[in-house]
Structures are given as C-alpha cells and as structure tokens.
Amino acid sequence: MENDLIVEGQVRRFSLGQVLRKRQRPPYWMIVPAVFLLLVIVVVPFFISIYTSFTQLDQYTIGNWMKAPFVGFRNYIYAFTQGSALGASALQSLWVSVSFSVLTTVFITPIGIIAALLVNTSFRGRAFVRALFLIPYVLPVFVNAITWRMLFMNGWGLVDLILSALHLGSINTFWLIGPNSFWAMVIADVWSSWPFIYLMVLAGLQGISGDLYESAYMDGATVVRSFFSITLPMLRPILGLALLLSTLSHFNNFTLPFIMFGTPPSPQADVLPLNVYVTSFQTFNFGLGAAMSLITLILMMIPAFFYIRMLRLGNETA
C-alpha cells in the first residue's frame, strides 16, 4: 500500500512501512548533548588521568603539565609500596576503604529495613516520625563530621564520658587516633547514612500489594513468615540496588574522615579517597595520585561487575 505525501510542494510516494519505520526509529540524536557532556566530564579526564599516572607531574611541572617527564610504571610501584605523608600505602588504604564501606553497609541495612517496616503501617504521628528519621541524612556531612569529632574527643567528649560513667571503658579512650579511629568513622557514618536504606526500602514496601499479605494471613502465615517469604523477596531488587549504591557511596566517602581526622589521618582511618587527595593535592604528587586512583578503579570494577551480574539488577529492576 502506498500513500501520497506532500513534501515541500511536491507529491512524494512512501510505503506505510517506510513511514512507520521512520516514526519508530529512536531519536538517537537527542542523546548527543548527554554524550558530549559525558565525553567532556568523564571520558576526557579519565584519559588524562591515565596519561598523568605515567608522568612525574608535580609542582615543578604542573605549569606545563603536557611536558611532565614520562616515568613509566614507577608511580604504580610507589602506589603499592609507599604511603602518602608516612601514612598508609594505596593497598592499605584500599583495605581500609573496603572494610569501611562493607561494614557500614552491613550495619545500616537492618537498621534501615526495621525503620522502614516501623513506619510502613499507619499510626498517629507517622508523618512526624518519618521526617525525624530523615534528619541524619539531610544534615550536611561536614556538620555530622564536626559533631562526631566533638563527641569522640578524648577525655571530655560525650562518648568517653558515657563509657566511663557506665564503666564500659576508660575516659581516656582515644577515638580520633589509633585503631579506634576506624570504628569512630564507621559509627559516625552509620548514624548519618542508614536513612538511605530506609528510604529505598520504604519505597519498595509501597509497591508490595496488600493482597499478598492478606492471602498469606488467610493461609496461616505468621508475621515473621510473611516477612521472609513475601517482603524480603519482593524487596530483593531494590534492596540489591540500595546495597550496591550504599557500598560504592561509602567507599567514596571523603568529607567525613577529612573533617573528623584532618590530614594526614591515622593509617587506620586513611581511606583511599583521602590518601589520593593528600598524595595529589597536598604533596603535589599528581602522577602517583592518578596511579592510585586507577588501581582503585580497576580493583573496584571486579566486584561491582560480579555483584551486578549476580543480582541481575538489569532485568529485575526493569
């Protein structure tokens, strides 16, 4: 079948198939601005980082950085062996960051789920409680960090005072240096980030039909059984996404340790973003900093890839 179309004063003949195909073709040109921005903001700097990681870019060469001396893999070797400012090496920092992000996510997940379940049923003052739960999340990170720094102060911080009053610890328990600094960072981050899981789970709970619970109840299922057989499986896709985003977000947390401990921090709290920052911007070793970043990127891509595959997030969240 053919149709007559008047195009620019001329009669042209198109088949219906041609017209439909033309109409159905995705307008790829509309993504050109996004692709351009991605190129400028992500791709180009990424390739510059790769280039930088093979150079001795420092305060003496930054003015003409394209001509910084080429040093091969030296920065990569230093990244594994030498710490920034006598701090942790990239490998040590990577371990600190991985432990920090995984532990924080492990702690905030049950808190977030329980909080979401609590406010998913209607009760008087629910709106107020929901708003209250969001306070730690909406507080700026630096406010959170300064507050926790004060709380963890040795001798006169509230944490030491309470521990000492309850005979659970010495009033001279150092939280901002030494091994405890890692736990201070975890506690502060758990406090501020659990509402993220809460929000995601709450959104997921809204999507579960009440009919499912009703049927289960009629079949004699207990609340606990309903939770494990209905709620958790239905939340799996969104919870998986939340855990992935949470882990990555904690891994990249820079502000909290930067403000809580200053630079350079204790090696136990020397997370990778902070280590890269000190190396690059405080000791002017941009080449080494770039090498450390790239090593991290490669190492982080491996679990992220398997994690996403395992959860089949693409299919299920679609």
Partner: protein
Amino acid sequence: MKHKSPWFVQKASLVGAAVVSMAALIPMSAYAKAVSQPVALNVFVGYNASNPKAQANLYNNVLIPEFERAHPNVKVTWSYYSSASQENTTLQTAVATHQGPDIFELGTTFVPTAYATKSFHVLSAKDWVTVGGMKRFFNPQLRLSGPNPSHYIGVPEYMLPFAMVYNTKLFRQAGIKTPPATWAEFVSDAQKMTDPSRGQWGTVIDPADSFDPWKIVWAYSKQLGSDFISPNLKKVTLNAPQVVKAMNFWFDWLIKYKIVSSNDLTYKSTDAMQQFENGHIGMWVFQGPTMIPSLNNSAVKGEYAFAPLPTIPMGMKSRPKGGQPTQTIVSGQDLAIPTYVTGAKYEAALQWINFVTQPNQQREFFDAYGYLPINPAAYTHDAVLNTPMIRAFVAAEMHATPTPFTGAWGNLETIFAGVTNKVADELATNTYHAGDIASLLQAANVQVQQSLQQ
C-alpha cells in the same frame, strides 16, 4: 538526474549564513569589548573565619569602591578560600589551566611552592616602582617573596609574626612574675600552672594539626643550630640530631614534664584555641595577633598577653654554636600575579597591590581583622598600632627567620604532620618507644628528599 531536495538547500544556506554571521560577530564583539569594557580584576584572598562580616564589609564597601573611584576603568571582584587546602587546589587548577583569579593572596610559606610552578610573574624593577618600591615593606618579610631580590614573585600584603600567648590570671595565681626567657623556665612555669584535677595545664600541643607542629619544632631546631633543609637547598635534614632533639622536646611536654594533657594528642589548632579561650591553658606558643579578636570574645578577655618565645634550649645556659635566636618564622600573606594575567589587567593588578599596601588600607586590614600592617609608615603617629602588645609583635618581626625557599616546603609540611600524627598515635595507644621519633623523621627525610628539585 537526481536533484537535491529544496529543503536541504534551504537548511544548508541557513546554516552557512549563521556560521558566517557568527564568524563576523566574534571579532566585532571582541573589538567592542576591548574598546568599551573595563578591566575586570578578580582578587583571591584568604577567608577571615574570625570575622567574615568585617572582611566582606572591608572589600565590598571600603576597598573596592575606593579603588574603583581612583581607577574608573577597573572593576574589581573578590573571592576567597576558606582553608589552606582550597588555596592549594585553586592555585593548582589555575596554573594547570592558565586561567583563574588575577591576584592570589598566598601564605608566605606557600610562596616557594608557587614560585616552583613557574606560573607567577617575577616582578621587574619597573613593577616594583608601581607597587610602591621594596622600601615600603618590612625587610624580613621580603625574604620569602622569592629566592633573591631579582626573582621576587610575591609582594607582602600583611604580616603575622608569632609569639607566645599566656594567661595572666594563671600566671598571677602561680606567682610567676615575667614570661619565661629560656625553655627551662618555660617548663618550670608550666609545671607551676599545671593542675590536672582542675583540668588546668601549663601549655598545650596540637599534633593532629597540619601546620602548627612544624613551626615549633623548626624554631627550636634553629635555636639548636639546624634547619629542616640544608642552606644550599639540596639536602633534607629532618634526620639531623637537632631536629630529632627538638621534636623529642615537644613531645616531652607530655611524656616527661607532664605539662600538657594527654587529651591534646587528638587536637588540631582549633581545639587548642578552645582550651586556651576557656582559661584552661597557661601558655600557648607560636600564636599570632589574628587571634586577638577571638580572645576578646572569650573567657580570657583582658587576662592574656603576648611574649616572645624563649630562645635558650632546654638544659643550656646559652644557645649552642650556630644556634639562632629564632622566635618566629617570616609569616603573613603575599600577593602574587599569575603569568596568564597580562597587558592592561596586569597593570591593574599592580595598581591594586600598590593600593592595598598603602598605610590607610593597611590600617583598614588591621581594624577589620587584626592583620598587622606590612608598611612601617602605617605605624607612625598611630596610637592604636603602638601599644606594647603590637610593639612586641613588630619587634618579633624584625628578628623573624625565613623558612628555606624551596618548592618542596609544602610537601615537607604535610609529611612532617604525618610524623607528629604518627607519634601521637603511638602515644595514645601506648605503643610508643624511645627512638621512634628518630626513625619516623628518618623516613620523612627520605620522602621529602624525593620531592626536592635537584
């Protein structure tokens, strides 16, 4: 024959016309700009945390309007950095991209790093005439403007000589008549004022701070006759016995003499400040006049004074051979112009520097936030600038010792902070052993040596 569709021809013509018009407009607009637009000057300064309102008022309502009245073809804007980190990263971005602020306000110890980037104008003799001449400034301050007088990149803007601030009430209560002149007296006086049961300590340390610790250890090392870097700037000497001794002495305030609280191990400068302001601390070394406004709003208002640092090392009757009576580093802020600033803008930048370093403007800086004038003429016939306290700072400035002029100084500061942090870490966790300071300084020495330009 297949002919081109009319819509394509039309669109191609339109696009062509647009491109031609744009091409024509660009040089025209550039010309128009050059003819009619005033010179836009952006000044990048440090944030005044103790009195931001006064700073904003000073720039917006006093300095800029006054300057623009005298230079109608220049429009000045100002922006600020709120930390040394931001100062660092903004400078790095500017020198790498060749764009950014037109005038940088740089901390004096940061000038050598800026010089190492080769991205700032070396002022010519003519430029110095434009900014008022070298004689306008306190001479010690110029020693960190560049490696030598013919290679100065920084023009002093104001000075911040250091001294020791002490609590006069605690001095009276302990029966101490005068501030200590030797470090032995310092320790003895601090012990008299220390009373842990009342949370009162003779002095305070802040090993978690990124910048305070090196100043004290450096000054003491100078008094012992050493430095952090050799005079020819080729060799790092953080492992020198004098430096090791100096750092040991600083930590001995906690370990041996018990004149500081163990709580101090996590302190940054702001924490130490808070303790002093609460009246818990007898003496706090290496502090400058900028803390005066804050002290006047604290519990120690009217009960504090400044004194020079002791200059005779602990256990000695006089300084050893080569020891210098160092009481303060050359400290303050310099103004420097990046090389991407050229032509009329460069001239305008020089005019601005000339403007803000004149006595009236220097006095405005002092009134707003306590920065001491860099121009000796500002002190003439000015009662406010001739109090005993200010005279003590000016006297300290006359004996200020410059830190080594090397591009690696920034690295050294950070790595040194790593050492103090690590020692504090060990002390807090009871894992410190005698000799750890020496081995950590040795490791730091190797790291800083790598960043020295050979």
